[in-house]
């Protein structure tokens, strides 16, 4: 009866956070985002020129001196894009935070609590969903005397929370009757603790992806507002650059360099955010994970795609 001592070799559990970063999409997205955030912080210091400063080089194509060329006033477009990053990132983040906080407040409370108040909140978010957001933002923005970054961010934040609230409400509704919530109640937890510590942590991924989504929306909205001349967003941002390019008919003048960098920057930032979002999605739903190789080589040397319904047979010799 000699029982061989069991040593349970439990492989070190990789914590979730690391698993998220291990996702190649998320990593690329985070790196790109990091770059943009870095530029937002240091951009104004490393910009070679004052973005508003006029010079004699009117409407020059890109050169060693002016990497992205110049405007009709001889301003350096590279510096404008660089300096503009801050405003874009700032507005995106602030609006994202505001909208996320609101959507969490509205979504989770209306999902967890019942009664008239909760119904009212959910109706409110439905109303906001139905009103087209961008036109509303344009209208509200054009009512405000001051259209600095913060204001724009707040307007965007206050008008774009509804989508997130709806998703969160649905999620909360499904979480509310989960056994662990009931169990927490049975243990004697108070309502606010249940919302904060039992439900919210489980919504992290949803909240995070909602946040990223709002940031994308906010960035595009801010740029759009500046582009159509509704806001100035307190100085330079990519939209302002595009606004000037458009009002000076840059493309008709052949000044492509005036348009392209800012547009590409937007697309890149958008891509970065979407990648992070994918990362979150895949993190939440393991089925979406690309997960290593998807094709296998059989012993005969053929390549077979792994797919549902037709398991590949490698046909190796048994060892």
């Amino acid at each position: 009866m000699a029982v061989v001592p069991t040593t349970v070799v439990s492989a070190p559990v990789k914590r979730r956070k690391l698993r998220f970063v291990a996702n190649p999409k998320a990593t690329t997205g985070l790196l790109l985002m990091g770059f943009f955030v870095l530029m937002a912080v240091v951009g104004p210091w490393i910009a070679p020129f004052d973005p508003s400063e006029r010079s004699a080089d009117l409407l020059q194509p890109p050169s060693g001196k002016h990497w992205f060329g110049t405007t009709h006033l001889g301003q350096d477009i590279f510096s404008q894009v660089l300096v503009g990053t801050r405003s874009v990132i700032l507005v995106g983040l602030i609006a994202g935070v505001v909208a996320t906080v609101l959507s969490v407040l509205v979504g989770v409370t209306s999902g967890y609590l019942s009664g008239a108040g909760a119904e009212g909140l959910s109706a409110l978010s439905n109303v906001f969903l139905v009103i087209p957001a961008l036109p509303l933002i344009i209208i509200i923005t054009s009512t405000l005397p001051d259209t600095g970054n913060i204001t724009i961010a707040l307007v965007i934040g206050f008008t774009s929370w509804a989508w997130g609230a709806r998703v969160l409400r649905a999620q909360t509704l499904s979480l509310r009757r989960r056994d662990y919530v009931e169990a927490a109640r049975a243990t004697g937890e108070s309502t606010w603790r249940i919302i904060l510590f039992e439900i919210l942590p489980n919504l992290t991924a949803v909240i995070a992806s909602g946040f990223v989504g709002t940031v994308i929306f906010a960035v595009i909205s801010e740029i759009t507002l500046a582009f159509i001349g509704v806001s100035d967003a307190g100085g330079w941002n990519w939209g302002t650059v595009l606004f000037w390019a458009q009002s000076q008919q840059a493309l008709a003048q052949g000044a492509w360099w005036w348009f392209v960098p800012a547009g590409l920057a937007i697309a890149l930032l958008g891509t970065a955010l979407s990648l992070v979002n994918f990362g979150i999605d895949e993190f939440v739903s393991p089925r979406l994970r690309g997960g290593g190789k998807t094709t296998v080589k059989t012993a005969a040397g053929r390549k077979v795609r792994m797919r549902v319904g037709f398991t590949p047979v490698l046909g190796e010799e048994a060892k």
Binding site: D179, Y180, E182, A183, A186, P201
Partner: protein, 343 residues
């Protein structure tokens, strides 16, 4: 014509938790033309259930899926409010709707949820779960060391040893049996007098299942807990419970000492249940032709005895009147008209 004088399995031990005439109707959403009418439709999940939990004894509640077992447990834990009927803790009626009263109640009556995979919050560690249970019920002590000791003590009690190996794990890092034990530890954290264990083993593997059941039995013996053991595995009820109640479609149809209920089932439903349970000792050929048909809808249950549409012995009275409890042996009753006529 309702509750006849109530025969209990054993009158000697003291009653901890008691339910009388417990009824729960879940309202269902109206649809179509009903919107205009005044009738309220509801799922009659629990109907007139009377049972008692005794100190140091395990009471089993068996019955098929959807017969209202979990609902009874939730009612007893005051997670649902009963539609009617009373719940008494040590003879005192409880109304613990929420807030401080509910906490005080939950300190004395704790519940273990049906599904060990669902009842632990995936984002919290074992430590968090147990610490909360201890803190809420004021048993965390004053210093961190006290807390740590209390934690280790809990984990040791449910045989998760050595405790330090489990205390900082997340639920997904534990096996089903281990999770179930954490859930039990959490319930014990409140130092309750009554434990409502809702199918604590149904999701588990045979080998792990046994460990959890033995643990419950041990707790009952050592801590003198009153335990409600809910299952639909009638064989395990025979093994672990002192007394057994059988539910069918929201009603208790039979109850009594476990051995006599399982070995000499009186109610036709209990008989069907026992006949249907897989039994390796019985050759397939020997099988009787068991009942057919589906469990009834609880929204619109059959009148009278709810089992009568499937019952091989159904009589006229069965479809007219709800049978009261009739004694069929010592501390063994059945709610079936078959036994009413004997008298």
């Amino acid at each position: 014509m309702t509750t006849a004088p109530q025969p209990t399995a054993s009158g000697t031990t003291d009653v901890v938790l008691e339910a009388e005439g417990l009824t729960k109707h879940f309202p269902v959403r109206k649809r179509g033309r009903e919107l205009l009418s005044k009738t309220v439709r509801s799922v009659r999940a629990v109907e007139d259930v009377t049972l008692r939990l005794h100190r140091g004894r395990v009471t089993a509640l068996v019955g098929e899926s959807g017969s209202g077992k979990s609902s009874v447990a939730r009612l007893l834990a005051q997670l649902h409010l009963q539609t009617s009927g009373t719940i008494k803790l040590h003879g005192e009626e409880v109304h613990a709707k929420g807030g401080r009263k509910f906490r005080a109640y939950s300190k004395r009556v704790q519940m273990i949820f049906q599904d060990p995979f669902a009842s632990l919050n995936p984002v919290h560690t074992v430590r968090y779960h147990l610490t909360r249970a201890l803190k809420i019920h004021g048993r965390a002590g004053k210093t961190p060391q006290d807390l740590e000791e209390a934690l280790y003590d809990l984990l040791t009690r449910v045989q998760l040893t050595p405790p330090e190996r489990y205390v900082d794990k997340f639920p997904h890092e534990l096996s089903g049996g281990q999770r179930q034990r954490v859930a039990i530890a959490r319930a014990l954290g409140a130092d309750p007098e009554a434990l409502l264990a809702d199918e604590p083993v149904s999701m588990l593997d045979v080998s792990i299942r046994l460990g959890v059941l033995n643990l419950l039995r041990d707790l009952k013996d050592r801590l003198r807990l009153a335990i409600l053991y809910i299952t639909h595995d009638i064989a395990s009820a025979r093994y672990f419970a002192d007394e057994t109640y059988v539910m069918y479609a929201g009603r208790v149809v039979e109850g009594g000492d476990s051995e006599s209920v399982t070995q000499h089932p009186a109610h036709p439903y209990t008989q069907l249940l026992i006949d249907s349970a897989p039994d390796p000792d019985r050759p397939a050929a020997e099988e009787k032709d068991g009942g057919t048909g589906e469990p009834p809808s609880l929204i619109d249950p059959p009148p009278g005895c709810r089992f009568h549409p499937r019952c091989p012995h159904a009589m006229k009275i069965c479809s007219d009147q709800v049978p009261p409890r009739f004694d069929v042996g010592e501390g063994h009753f059945a709610a079936c008209w078959l036994y009413g006529e004997d008298r």
